[in-house]
C-alpha cells in the first residue's frame, strides 16, 4: 500500500457529479449510500479502486462512484475484472452485478471467478426480477412469478446465489439487505477478505417486484425472520429468544427456544465461519416463505488468491532469464546463408 492510502476520505469523496438514474425508491440507492459510507473506513484511495459491472439496473453503479469504473457487457464483468486484476494486482476491484447478470447470462464467469479466487468483491444485487428490460422473471424468481414473459407464472425453480457461490468454491459468502444498517459491516468484512468475496444483497425493485422480500425485511417481521450470524457467537435471533441448533439425527438445523438466555442449554450452535458444511446449511436454511433467513458473513475461509499465484508463477518462470528478443527469434535449428543471391 502506498502512503496515499492514509489520506482520509469522506463519503462525499466517493460520489460523482453524475445524476443517479434509478427509479425513485429503488433499493439500489440504499446500497450506493452504504458503499459510499463504507469506502472511507477501508483506508483505500479512490484512484486505486475500480468498479466493474455488467448490464442491468445494478450495473449502472460505477457511474455513481468517484473511482475508476468500467460498465462492461452483459454477464462479463467477472471476466473483465479478472483481466484488470491480473494486469494490476494492486488495484482494489469491486464487481457490481445482478441476479440475471451474474447467474443467468454470466453464470459461467461468476463460477470461474469464484473458483479461481480472484481477490475482489462481488456484490450481487438480487431483486429476483429483470428490471431494466421491464420485469421478466429472473433465475432467482420464485416458482409462480407472474411476469410479461411468464403471464401464467414461472414454472422453473430458482437458483440460490449463495449456494451457487459456495458450490463454485467461493471462500467468502455473505448476505445482506439493501436498507439494513448491517450492510456496511458486511461490506467491510468482504473487503477485508483476501480473495473473491461474494455478497448477495436482497434488493427491492420498487417497480417490478415490490415487496418480494417484505416477509423478512419489514421492520416488524425482522426480529423473527432475520438471523444475523457472527463468527464465534451463538446463532440467535428474536432478541435472543430463539436460536439454531443442530439436529444430529436428521443432520439439519432446527429452531429452538432459548429460555432466560441459556442458549447453551438450548443447544444453540456457535457460528464458525470457516466451517463449509455449516455454511451450506445456513445458506439453505429456509423453513418457510417468511423466513427466517440467515444473514451476515456465513463463510469466510481464505486461501491463496488467483492473481498472486499467477504473478508468483510468472516471476518464478522468468527468474534468471534475460530478455533478448533477437535471441528469442533466433531459437531452434538455424542455418547461415553466406553467398550472394542469384538474380531471380
Amino acid at each position: 500500500m502506498n502512503e496515499m492510502t492514509s489520506i482520509p476520505t469522506s463519503p462525499k469523496d466517493w460520489e460523482t457529479d453524475q445524476e443517479v438514474r434509478w427509479c425513485p425508491g429503488c433499493g439500489d440507492y440504499a446500497i450506493l449510500k452504504a458503499v459510499q459510507r463504507t469506502m472511507p473506513e477501508l483506508g483505500v484511495r479512490p484512484e486505486n479502486t475500480v468498479f466493474v459491472s455488467g448490464i442491468g439496473c445494478s450495473s449502472r453503479f460505477p457511474y455513481y462512484m468517484e473511482t475508476y469504473g468500467f460498465h462492461t457487457i452483459h454477464g462479463r464483468a467477472p471476466a473483465v475484472a479478472t483481466g484488470v486484476k491480473l494486469a494490476n494486482p494492486e488495484l482494489d476491484v469491486w464487481i457490481i452485478t445482478g441476479d440475471g447478470d451474474a447467474l443467468s447470462i454470466g453464470g459461467n464467469h461468476t463460477m470461474h471467478l469464484l473458483r479461481r479466487n480472484l481477490d475482489c468483491q462481488v456484490l450481487l444485487f438480487n431483486n429476483e426480477i429483470y428490471g431494466l428490460t421491464k420485469g421478466q422473471y429472473s433465475p432467482t424468481s420464485r416458482v409462480g412469478t407472474r411476469s410479461p414473459s411468464t403471464p401464467f407464472g414461472s414454472v422453473d425453480r430458482p437458483a440460490s446465489p449463495c449456494s451457487f457461490a459456495l458450490g463454485s468454491g467461493a471462500r467468502f459468502v455473505a448476505r445482506g439487505i439493501d436498507t439494513h444498517k448491517n450492510l456496511p459491516a458486511v461490506l467491510k468484512a468482504a473487503h477485508a477478505h483476501k480473495g473473491a468475496s461474494f455478497v448477495e444483497i436482497y434488493q427491492n425493485c420498487i417497480v417490478y417486484n415490490d415487496g418480494v422480500f417484505d416477509p423478512f425485511t419489514e421492520k416488524k417481521a425482522a426480529p423473527e425472520s432475520q438471523i444475523w450470524v457472527e463468527h464465534g457467537e451463538p446463532v440467535l435471533f428474536a432478541g435472543g429468544a430463539k436460536g439454531l441448533a443442530m439436529d444430529g439425527e436428521a443432520l439439519r438445523l432446527r429452531i429452538v427456544d432459548v429460555v432466560d438466555g441459556d442458549w447453551k442449554g438450548a443447544g444453540v450452535i456457535v457460528h464458525d465461519q470457516t466451517n463449509h458444511g455449516l455454511a451450506q446449511m445456513l445458506i439453505d436454511f429456509a423453513p418457510g416463505e417468511g423466513g427466517p433467513v440467515v444473514l451476515g458473513v456465513i463463510y469466510n475461509h481464505p486461501r491463496p488468491t488467483f492473481e498472486r499465484a499467477v504473478v508468483e508463477q510468472n516471476a518464478a518462470a522468468a527468474a534468471g532469464k534475460a530478455r533478448d528478443l533477437q535471441k528469442l527469434i533466433s531459437k531452434g535449428q538455424t542455418w547461415q546463408v553466406e553467398k550472394q543471391p542469384h538474380t531471380m
Binding site: G69, T82, N314, K331
Partner: protein
C-alpha cells in the same frame, strides 16, 4: 477412380510445373535459373506419426538450404480408428533450389503407410509419380477398412504410377529387435525408418535428426537408440537395396537466398513472436486471454512459455471470457490480446464492440478454418473476412490485417500491435489453418531494424483539463491506467459523450461519435504503406488481387504466366481494413480483376463496394489450398 483424379485430369497439361522434371520452355529458361523442386507427401494413420516425420523432414530440408513450403493435413479426430480413411494424416512438403511459395500442386512422391493412406492420397499424385508403400500393412483387414477389394499393390490399378512396396513394418521390427521393445512400441519406430529412407533419397544429413532423437528421448535412451537404429536402417535400405528404377537418389541444390541467419517457422510461432516483439516495441506488457480451439491453440501454448517477456497468459473459461479479460487488461494498461478461430471469433463479437466503444487497444488473432459452425476444424479457409470487416452489432469499424505466410505473420503481428496501441482500437489479425500449421524458412530479422513505437500513458491532467474521450491528431483517446491520481473516469459500452465520455444518448452526439469512430479507423490508412504491385506493373490487362495465405499459389501462377509472356500482375493486400489509399486507383489501371479466395467471394465484394470495380471471383472452399494450376487456368481463361 476418384473425384480427385478427375480434378487432376482437368489440369493435366500443367502438372509438370511444380516438379523437378518439368521441361522449361526457352522463355522460361531465360526468365529463371533451371528449376528443381520436388513435392513429397507422407501419409499414414493418424497414429503413425506423419506430422512428426514431416516436421523432421522439413527441418533437414531447411538445413540442406532448400527453400520449402509445407502443408500438414490431418483429421479433426485425435485418434481416429486405426486404418480408416478418415483417420489418415498427411504432410506435404515442396522443396527446391528455387523460390518455393506453395506446398506444391501434385506430389512427385507419395509415401503411404497403409491402404487408407494410399487410397485417399494417390489421386493427387502426379502421373508417373512414385508410390512407396508399406506392404506389411496391406493385409485383408486394412484393405477392407480402406474399401479395397483386392490389394492395389497387386491388381494393376496403380499402373499409372511407379510403385515400390516393401514390408516397412517387418524391416523396422528387424532393425529395432536388439532393443527388446514390445511389438507396439517397436512398430512406432516405423516413421523413423521411413524418414531414414526419405533422407537417403534426398541426400540429407542424418546427424541433426539423431541429435534431436537423443534429446527427445533423453529420459528413455533405449527408445532413442531404437529410433536411431530404425532411421539408419531406412537409410541403409535406400543405399544398399538393389531396386532398379524408381528408387534413386536426388540431390536438390540449395536454393539461392539472401545471406543471413535462417530458421523454419510456423505461423503460430511467428505470430507469437511477433506479438511479443510488438509489445516490446510498444513498451507495454502483454496479456493474452485464450480458450483452446483448433487451429489457434498453438499461439496460447507458445506464449505461455515466454513469461520473461512480460507476457501473462490466461486460459479463460470460454471465448468470451478470454477477450473480456484481455479488454480488462488493456483497460488496466497492458496490451490485451486474444486469439481464436471462426466459431470462437463469433462468440467474441459483442466484446469486440465493447473495445470499439471504449476505444481500448486490443489484438484479436483469427486463425480461420472451414465454416460455418464447427465446419472443418483442421482445414483451411478464408471465409471470415466478412466477419472481420463487417461483424459486430452497430457501426463498429476496426482495422483488419491479413498475414500471407508463416514468415509474414511476424511483421503482421507487430503491425497489429502498432495500430492497436497508436490508435486505441481493437485490431483483427487474420491468418488461417494453413499459415498456423505450415512451416517455411524464415530469414531471422534484425530487431534493431524495427522502429519502436512507445506507448504514452496519460499520467497527469493535461492543459485544458482531462477529457477521457479527448483526441490526439490520430483521433486516438488517451490511455489512462487505473491507479493514476487525478484522472479518475468511467468507461463503458453505452454511447459516450464527445470529450467527457459520460453517458449520452443525444441524437447529435451519437452521430458525432459514430462519425469519429469511423474517421479514426479510416485514418489508419494514412499510417500504412501504399499498396504495391507484388509482381508485375501498375497497369495491364489482368491483375490477380489476393490476401492471406493464397499468396503462394497466386504468386507462382502469375510468375509462370508472365514467363509465358502474359500480361498478368499480382497485387496482394495486407491491410484489409482500411484498405491502402491508392488501391482504388491502382485497380483501375487493369482491364480485368480476378480475386482468388478460399471463400465464396468476400474480398471481391469489399473491392466492388469500395471502388465500383468489376472484380471477378475465383473461389475454392474444399478445405485445401489453391493449386497453382487452378489459378493458372483462370488466368489463361481470362486472357483468352
Amino acid at each position: 477412380m476418384t473425384g480427385n483424379e478427375e480434378g487432376n485430369d482437368k489440369y493435366r497439361g500443367d502438372l509438370g510445373m511444380a516438379t523437378a522434371v518439368h521441361e522449361l520452355t526457352p522463355k522460361e529458361a531465360n526468365a529463371h535459373p533451371p528449376a528443381e523442386a520436388i513435392v513429397v507427401r507422407f501419409a499414414g494413420d493418424s497414429g503413425d506419426g506423419m506430422q512428426l516425420t514431416g516436421g523432421q523432414f522439413t527441418l533437414s530440408t531447411a538445413l540442406a538450404g532448400n527453400d520449402l513450403a509445407t502443408f500438414p493435413d490431418f483429421p479433426a479426430e485425435i485418434r481416429a480408428p486405426q486404418g480408416t480413411l478418415f483417420g489418415v494424416s498427411a504432410f506435404q512438403i515442396n522443396f527446391g533450389s528455387t523460390a518455393i511459395e506453395t506446398a506444391g500442386d501434385a506430389p512427385d512422391v507419395l509415401i503411404a503407410m497403409n491402404p487408407a493412406a494410399l487410397k485417399s492420397n494417390v489421386g493427387a499424385l502426379k502421373p508417373g509419380g512414385l508410390i512407396i508403400a508399406d506392404e506389411g500393412e496391406f493385409g485383408v483387414r486394412n484393405l477392407a477398412k480402406a474399401g479395397y477389394e483386392a490389394s492395389p499393390l497387386e491388381d494393376g490399378s496403380l499402373a499409372r504410377w511407379q510403385v515400390l512396396s516393401f514390408n516397412i513394418s517387418q524391416l523396422t521390427l528387424d532393425a529395432v529387435k536388439p532393443f527388446g521393445l514390445g511389438n507396439k512400441e517397436a512398430l512406432r519406430c516405423k516413421n523413423m525408418w521411413t524418414l531414414g529412407l526419405a533422407l537417403w533419397m534426398f541426400d540429407r544429413d542424418r546427424e541433426p535428426l539423431i541429435q534431436w532423437l537423443k534429446e527427445k528421448f533423453a529420459k528413455a535412451p533405449t527408445l532413442a537408440e531404437a529410433n536411431i537404429a530404425a532411421l539408419n536402417a531406412g537409410h541403409a535400405f535406400g543405399e544398399t537395396a538393389e531396386i532398379s528404377g524408381p528408387l534413386k537418389q536426388h540431390h536438390i541444390a540449395a536454393a539461392p537466398a539472401e545471406p543471413g541467419l535462417y530458421r523454419t517457422i510456423t505461423g503460430a510461432e511467428s505470430i507469437s513472436l511477433g506479438l511479443v516483439a510488438g509489445a516490446q516495441l510498444a513498451g507495454v506488457k502483454m496479456f493474452f486471454g485464450g480458450y483452446p480451439i483448433t487451429p489457434a491453440s498453438a499461439i496460447l501454448h507458445h506464449l505461455s512459455r515466454l513469461k520473461e517477456y512480460e507476457v501473462t497468459t490466461f486460459q479463460a473459461e470460454d471465448e468470451i471470457a478470454a477477450i473480456a479479460a484481455a479488454i480488462g487488461a488493456s483497460y488496466a494498461g497492458q496490451l490485451g490480446v486474444t486469439s481464436s478461430s471462426g466459431p470462437g471469433i463469433a462468440l467474441k463479437g459483442e466484446a469486440m464492440g465493447l473495445a470499439v466503444m471504449t476505444e481500448l487497444p486490443l489484438v484479436i488473432v483469427n486463425s480461420q478454418r472451414g465454416g460455418p459452425s464447427t465446419g472443418l476444424p483442421t482445414k483451411t479457409e478464408q471465409s471470415d473476412l466478412y466477419q472481420a470487416v463487417y461483424g459486430r452489432n452497430g457501426d463498429a469499424p476496426l482495422p483488419v490485417i491479413a498475414a500471407r505466410s508463416p514468415a509474414d505473420a511476424f511483421d503482421c503481428a507487430i503491425e497489429a500491435v502498432r495500430i492497436a496501441t497508436q490508435f486505441m482500437t481493437p485490431v483483427i489479425l487474420l491468418t488461417d489453418g494453413y499459415i498456423a500449421n505450415a512451416a517455411e524458412p524464415w530469414k531471422v530479422p534484425d530487431m534493431s531494424g524495427y522502429a519502436p513505437f512507445p506507448v504514452q500513458y496519460l499520467e497527469s491532467v493535461p492543459e485544458g483539463g482531462f477529457k477521457p474521450y479527448g483526441r490526439d491528431e490520430k483521433l486516438a483517446r488517451p490511455w489512462v491506467k487505473p491507479g493514476t491520481p487525478g484522472l479518475i473516469h468511467r468507461i463503458g459500452g453505452i454511447e459516450k459523450a464527445v470529450d467527457t465520455g459520460h453517458i449520452d444518448y443525444a441524437p447529435a452526439n451519437h452521430q458525432a461519435m459514430t462519425d469519429l469512430r469511423r474517421a479514426k479507423v479510416d485514418g489508419v490508412a494514412d499510417h500504412i504503406p501504399e499498396q504495391e504491385v507484388t509482381l508485375g506493373e501498375a497497369k495491364g490487362r489482368l491483375v490477380l488481387v489476393g490476401w492471406g495465405s493464397t499468396f503462394g499459389p497466386i504468386h507462382q501462377a502469375v510468375r509462370r504466366q508472365r514467363a509465358k509472356g502474359r500480361d498478368v500482375h499480382h497485387v496482394h493486400i495486407r491491410h484489409i481494413w482500411p484498405l491502402p489509399r491508392n488501391l482504388g486507383d491502382l485497380l483501375k489501371g487493369y482491364d480485368k480483376i480476378i480475386v482468388p479466395e478460399m471463400n465464396t467471394g468476400q474480398l471481391k465484394t469489399v473491392l466492388r463496394d469500395q471502388y465500383l470495380v468489376d472484380a471477378r471471383p475465383l473461389n475454392k472452399v474444399s478445405g485445401q489450398p489453391f493449386r497453382i494450376a487452378e489459378i493458372e487456368a483462370a488466368i489463361e481463361e481470362a486472357l483468352a
